[in-house]
Each structure stands twice: as structure tokens, then as C-alpha cells.
Amino acid sequence: MDKYILAIESSCDETSVSIIKNGCEEISTVVLSQMDIHANFGGVVPEIASRNHVKNITLVIEEALKKANMTMNDIDAVAVTYGPGLIGSLLVGLIAAKTLAYAYNKPLVPVHHIAGHIYANNLVKPLEFPLISLVVSGGHTDLIYMKEDYSFERLGGTLDDAVGEAYDKVARVLGIDYPGGPIVDKLAHTGKDTYDLPLPLNDNSYDFSFSGLKSAVINKIHNEKQRGNYIIVENMCTSFQNRVVEILVKKTMKALKEKNVKNLIVAGGVAANNGLRERLTIECEKEGIELTVPEIKYCTDNAAMIGAAGYYAYKLGRRADLELNAKANDKLY
């Protein structure tokens, strides 16, 4: 029997609702992005994000059902991102989901945001196990090993800034408007690797650290300015991006080798980064590894991925009760 999940995602600055069939087919998705609002402030302002979520939440739910030509009676379960993310933002989606599940007497399925990013790939083609997933976004940098559906082993992750966060911060010191990550990626393709920057946390662990690299960029800019030199922005972008990509690719390939895994999926907003995609494509071809990267629309935050993950959590019998709370940080399990 077909199962339809209504999924809600509000962990950062996108209010999104999707209806997903059997964990792999997108029936409808609505994403209301607040990016233009937060651009005025040079980054996401949590309180403003929360205020916009509460303003939009029922409109987005209604629109998703309308687009699907369905009513809540056609829905088998309500899935929701309970964390990690901005607590005030998460709470709006969570309370709406709890209310819907309660009012319509539907099961409530809690979904971890990172599980969602990984399962975004299930909307492209079925996941093949075992796999390694590199999750890279403005809020996350994680290496995850999965031996089967909905089994997550976190091998490592960032100890400080998420990779997308480092991109946006470097963009800002280079005078590029928020969100600057995609522009840094673009400029990196036109520049040369002329700046001497360190390869961050180049060790045997699966952890990452990007705040040191970010500081190195800031210091370099400062020093060059003091010497009266101009910064060649595109060269700085190339140098920065090369270090980031090198360490991400190095540790990802190490994980694939050590776990003897032939499937790699990349997820999260930074999966859209061309420098990263190009390097991974080359390395994976060399090693005979199947690389899957979702379409751009599934890379950024959306409820479709929560609906895909939610279906598998639902099938496993994961349920939340009425006390379900939002969690800013929570282990993926």
C-alpha cells in the first residue's frame, strides 16, 4: 500500500512543507525562503527567522496540500525536523506538526535534519548500501557511514564552523554580499592558487576544522593591506576553496577506503559547490566509486528530504509522542 508522508522543515530560514509518496516520489513541495530578508543583516537572524516561520507556516501547509490535490485525510503520517537547527525556528514547524498529527489523529514521526539531507538522494535514485555520506552545508559538516536504511554511524564532523559558514564568512571579509558561498565558488574558478594558506586539521581523524583557515584568510588580508598591497579576490577564493576541497575530499576518500564502501552520496547546500563536485567526480572515477549528488533544489533545506527520510523512520516504527521537543543539537541515530 502506498504511504503518503506530510513533512515539515523549519530548522533555519526556509519554511517548507512536502508530501512524499513511499519515500521516493515527490508529490508536492513548497519552500518559502527568507533569504532576501536575512540578506539585509548579512546572515540569518534567528529571531527574525522564527517570526517569519510563524507568519507563513499554515499558508505553506495549505499550499502543499493544494498543489498535491490532497487533504489531510489522504496523509498516513506527519514527519517533522525536530533538530538540529535554530531552536526558535524548529519550534514553529514542530508545534505545527504536533498539532496536525493530534487534530487528525496521525502518527508523528521525528526526523533528524541530517538524515533528511542524506535521504534527499533517495528522491534521485534509491540509496545503495553500504554508503558513505558527506553532508556539507551552512550548519553542518559530517561524514556518515550507513550499512543499511536508517542506520547512521557518524565517523566525524566539524569541530567549529560548518563549511558553508566558513564560505560565507570568508566572502564577507572579501566584501562579497551574503550569502557569499556560491560567489566564492564562482570566483575560485577564475583565479590562481597564489596565497599560502594552511590545510586545516590535516590529520588521521574524520573531523574537520574551518575556523583556523578562515582566520588565516582574515590575517592574510590584513597583512597585505598593511603592506599597501591589494588582495586579488579571485586568487584568494581559489586558494581558500582549494584547501577546503582538498581536506573534504581527502577525508571522504579515506573513509570510503577504510570502510571498503563503493557508494558516496554528497548532501547539503555545499553539495552545490562546483569545486567540490569536480574533485570528487575525478577521485571517485579513479577509485571506482559510485558518486551521487542531488539536484540543487534538494541540496538546500527543504521538506521533501524530510518526507523521504520520514518514510523510512515511519516504516521502522519511529514515533514521537505529544511531548516531542525541538533540539538545537542532537546525535543522529
Binding site: 529571531e47 510563524v54 521537543n325
Partner: protein, 196 residues
Amino acid sequence: MKYLFLDTSTTNLVVAIVIDGKLSYLKNEPCGQSMSIRLMPVIDEALNNCNVKIEELDKIFVCNGPGSFTGIRIGLTFAKTLAWALSIPVVPISTLEALASGNASMALINARRGYVFAGGYNDLLEPLYDDRYVLLSEINTDLPFVSYDELEVNTNIPKIDVLKIIAKHENDKGINPHLLNPVYLKQTEAEEKLNG
């Protein structure tokens, strides 16, 4: 008629069910940070205690602020989602009016750094001092203060008179749930900085 009354915008979670003009259930529990955990179980308990099915509710009365930004959003997200789901009217009530509903008084909610959200109401719940964000030291009033918060003035604990509130607002038209929004009475700090 079966009504649900709800306030999540202070330190206390308040849930009431009123059936045909009678108070059938009232809970007022200090909740602090666990508002999002407690809200639904208390709603469930309220409906069960009164033998009311959720789809039998005729109207929702919900406090829409001012108060704890996160707290208001919890109650309002619940109220607007439920009102949308059941296609029933939702009536927003000033949180300060609810706090002052026991006796004529000036209701206060701590807004930090010497500021409070303040609103004064008479025994008929008519506003004597419009809801505002103000320095506590600048309030000039003969009304007694009521508040759940520890403040630098003498305050009484609010006695929320749900029946009085509902009697006054029973015939309010209610608003489209999509348009139900918190009354914050204060910009975010980021906006204050941006707007000078």
C-alpha cells in the same frame, strides 16, 4: 458552545475549556522552558477531562502577546494550525488583558534591562493604559501591579478570569488563521540596529 482558551506567552501555561458559559477545565502551571513539551499533553488532558473531542471545539481564544517571543509563537502556532485544520474562528486576546482580568490592574511582563511590557485595564477589561514596551520606572499609575515575574515593584500574582475574558470577546469576529500573528511590541535587536 465549546471554547478553548490558551496562553503560552508568560512563564505560566494557561489552558481552559469553557462549555456553554461554564468553566469546565482550568490549568495554570509554571512552565518556564518546557512550554513546547507541556502544551500538547495539557491540551489533551483538558479535552479528555471534559469529554470533548477536538473536532467539537467551536472557537479558540488565544493570547497573542506581548510576552516571551518564543512562548507566544508556541501558542499561536498551535492555535493557528488547529483553527486552520478545524476551520473554526480564532480570537486573539492581549496577554496583558488576560493577566489583568482578575481585578482592575496594571499587568507587567519582564522585558529585561529595566523594560517591561505593560498594560492597564479596568474591571470591565477596558484599556486604561494601552499595551506598550516601556521602562518600568516611567510607569505612572494608581492601578495595582500584577505579574508572574520578579520586578522592582510590588506585584500581585495575576488571577486570570477566563469567563470574564470570554464574555467580553465571545462575539469578536475572529481572524483568518493565516493572519494570526504575535504582537511582539518590540523589534528584534538586529532590526533596531539596522533602523538606527
